[in-house]
Symmetry: C2
Subunit: 81 residues, 2 copies
């Protein structure tokens, strides 16, 4: 069966996110004064052919650990769609 899984990869909280800071400035310049913090990460959706849900989730976790997320700078979350 084919499962669709989302993997969210975000910069760690303790690290600066210069791209996010730039976007925050842009939003404030557009008049959105309430914006206080912006962080930008990646969202990856994967379709995985697996026997069951837990096999699909563990394949997604392996993908995140081996290729998609850099644990020095990023953390990830996995969810079944």
């Amino acid at each position: 069966m084919i499962y669709t899984i989302a993997i969210n990869v975000m910069p760690l909280k303790d690290l600066l996110d210069p791209q996010g800071k730039a976007v925050m400035g842009g939003l404030q310049n557009l008049g959105l004064k309430g914006v206080q913090d912006v962080r930008i990460g990646k969202r990856i959706t994967v379709q995985i052919d697996a026997e069951n849900e837990s096999a699909a989730l563990s394949a997604a976790e392996e993908a995140a650990k081996k290729l998609l997320a850099n644990p020095v700078m990023e953390h990830f979350e996995i969810s079944l769609l």
Copy 2:
């Protein structure tokens, strides 16, 4: 009150996603044979100071429409965290 909102910006289904295709090849080379499709987008988390939930969500939608998503190539989803 401060609301944390996630904005997911993904490439439209009908468009090619060459970055996703490259990652799919990489994952298959790493031995994850079950991976059938990969699409890569952005996930933006925003902290918005607003009077209530619906004001925060509409500010996030304005941010997505004005700056974060390109409607020619991308669609977006907003969710309160």
